[in-house]
Amino acid sequence: MRIAIASGKGGTGKTTLAVNLALKLAESSTTLLMDLDVEEPNGGIFIEGQCIVTIDARRMVPFWQQNACNLCGKCPSLCRYNAIIKLGDYIMVMPELCHSCHACSELCPVNALPMQALPLGTLKHQSLGKLDFVESRLNIGLEQASPLISQALSYADKHFAGHDYQILDSPPGTSCAMISATKTADYAILITEPTPFGLYDLSLAVETMRHLGKPFGVVVNRWGIGNSEVLDYLKRESIPLLAKIPHAREIAIAYSQGEILYQAFPAVDEALNQIIKHIEAAL
C-alpha cells in the first residue's frame, strides 16, 4: 500500500508525519519511507539507519558533435524548451533547460547530438529494522525535480514492491513535482494547519487530489492555533478528517532538534493510531 503525504503549504508537518508514521508502522510491518522532497530533503535528520547503498542519479542531455554536424538548423527549431541555440556555425546546448525528451538527438539527420548522462542527484538507501528509508536529493542549481522523483519511485517499484507500506514524503505546492510524487499513491494524506493560509493552500491540494482521482483524507496539525474554519470546510466538502495533532511548544522544540515525536508525546501517538485506522478502512 502506497501512501503519499502532501500539502499545498510548506512547513505544515509533512516530514514529521511521514517519519513518525513510517517508524510506527515499521514496528510491526515492512515499511518503506521515501523522501521525495528532493529540493530540500529532511527525513535523514530524523532517521539514522545503516547505509545500504548510495546511487548517483543521472539525466540524459544532448552533447553536440561538431565534426558530425552539418548545421542544418533542425535541432533549435525542434526544441520546445529553448535549450539549443544555433550561433553562426556553432550549436550551443543549455543542459539546465533540457527536459531529456531525446527529440533533437533522435531526429538529427546526421546523429550529431548523441545523449550523454549528466549528474542529477543522489538516492541513498538506509535500513533500520523493518524500515527501509530512501532519500532523494537533487543537485543544487538544477530546476526540475520531477525526473529525480520518477527515478526514486522506479527504485521503490523495483526493490520494495513486497513491503506492507510505502510512505512518500512529497514536496509542497500543487505543481508538477507534487503531482509526480503523489500520482502513483493508493491514498494521499493532506496535512494542514488551522490558519487562513493553511486552509487556502489545503483547498488547492484538495482540488489537485480530486483532479487526480485520488482517495485522500486530511490531518490538521498544530490544532489550537488559528481558528476552526478548516473543520467547517472539511465537513462542507465531505472530506474525512483523519486526526488532529495538538499545538504544543514542547512538540515544536522536540521537532526542532530532530527527535521522533510519537514515543514522547501520547497525543501524537494517538493521532497516528487514528490515521492508521482510517487508512486501513479506506483501502
Binding site: 516530514t15 489537485t208 526542532s256
Partner: protein, 290 residues
C-alpha cells in the same frame, strides 16, 4: 529600483508574514510580487482588487486525433515521459504527464497528433488596501511552468514599479530551491532569508545559500521563532557569520503572528506598538544591503 526576494528553503518559516509586515512599513514606495505561484497566500492579507487580469499561456500539450491515428505505437514507444497510453479506444495522451516536447508530433507518420497551447494560469495586477500595488498569480493544478509564471509576475512588477515611480519591489518566493526559486532569484538585487531554529530549516537554508551564491546576490537573514531553540539559533548565527550573511533580527515566537494571519492582517497592524519599530528597523537594514 531595487528588487528584494524573500525566500527560506524550508516552507512555513514565516516568509509571507514577514513580507506582509515589511510591505505595510514600506507601502508608499514599493510594489509587491507574490511569486509563490502554486500556493500564493498574500492575497489573503492584502485584499487585492484586480485592475487587470491576464491568462497565462505557456507550453503545449500533444493531442491524438483517434480518427486519424494508425495505431502504430511509435509515439508511445518514444515518449520519455510515459505520457501516451493504449486502451481499447486507441492511443491517448495523458495531459498531466505530457511535458509538451512535441517529439510525438514530429514522429507521427500519419500526422494524427496536434499541439494545443496551454493556458496554465492567470496573472493579476491589483490595488490593495495597503495602497501599494500587488502582482500575484494562480498556477493551474499540475502545471509545469511555474518558473515562467514567476518570471511573468516579476516582469509585471518591474514595469509597474517603473510607471508608479517606486524604488522597491518586494518578492515573496516559493519554498525549495528548484525552478520557481531559481526564476525568482534571476535579476534580483538582494535576498532576505527567513529561517527558524530547527535542524531541518538550517539544512534547507544551507542548500538555498549554495544556490544564491551561484547568482552572486547579497543576502541577509531573519531567524523567526528564535526562542523555540536557543541552541540551534546560536548555531545558525555562527553559520551566518561564517558565510558572510548579515543577520538582521531574531523574532521570538509570538501569538501576534497567528492572530494577525487569522484576522487577515499583518503583524504590525495587529500590534503596532510592538512590531512597528522592529519591522521599520529590518526594512531600513534591507534597503542598505548591497
Amino acid at each position: 529600483m531595487k528588487e528584494i526576494v524573500c525566500i527560506s528553503g524550508k516552507g512555513g518559516t514565516g516568509k509571507s508574514s514577514v513580507v506582509a509586515a515589511l510591505s505595510w512599513i514600506a507601502k508608499d514606495n514599493l510594489v509587491v510580487a507574490d511569486c509563490d505561484v502554486d500556493a500564493a497566500d498574500l492575497h489573503l492579507i492584502f485584499s487585492p482588487l484586480p485592475r487587470k487580469s491576464e491568462d497565462f499561456f505557456s507550453g503545449v500539450k500533444a493531442v491524438i486525433d483517434p480518427a486519424m491515428c494508425a495505431a502504430c505505437g511509435l509515439c508511445a514507444d518514444k515518449c520519455r515521459f510515459d505520457a501516451i497510453t493504449k486502451s481499447d479506444a486507441g492511443y491517448r495522451v495523458l495531459p498531466l504527464d505530457c511535458e509538451g516536447c512535441a517529439y510525438c508530433y514530429h514522429l507521427c507518420p500519419v500526422e494524427a497528433i496536434r499541439l494545443e497551447e496551454q493556458n496554465v494560469g492567470q496573472c493579476f495586477l491589483s490595488d490593495t488596501r495597503y495602497g501599494c500595488s500587488l502582482v500575484h498569480a494562480r498556477l493551474d493544478i499540475g502545471a509545469d511552468n511555474s518558473g515562467k509564471l514567476v518570471a511573468k509576475v516579476k516582469h509585471e512588477a518591474q514595469a509597474l514599479a517603473k510607471t508608479e515611480a517606486k524604488d522597491f519591489i518586494l518578492v515573496d518566493g516559493s519554498p525549495g530551491i528548484g525552478c520557481p526559486v531559481i526564476s525568482s532569484l534571476s535579476g534580483a538585487d538582494a535576498v532576505l532569508m527567513v529561517t527558524e531554529p530547527s535542524l531541518s530549516a538550517h539544512s534547507d537554508l544551507a542548500r538555498l545559500w549554495e544556490l544564491i551564491q551561484k547568482f552572486r546576490i547579497p543576502a541577509a537573514c531573519i531567524i523567526n521563532k528564535a526562542d523555540i531553540n536557543p541552541r540551534i539559533t546560536a548555531g545558525i548565527k555562527t553559520w551566518l557569520m561564517h558565510e558572510g550573511i548579515r543577520h538582521l533580527a531574531d523574532l521570538d515566537y509570538d501569538q501576534d503572528f497567528q492572530k494577525a494571519i487569522t484576522a487577515g492582517k499583518n503583524v504590525v497592524e495587529e500590534n503596532n506598538a510592538k512590531w512597528q519599530p522592529v519591522f521599520a528597523e529590518i526594512w531600513n537594514a534591507i534597503k542598505e544591503i548591497r
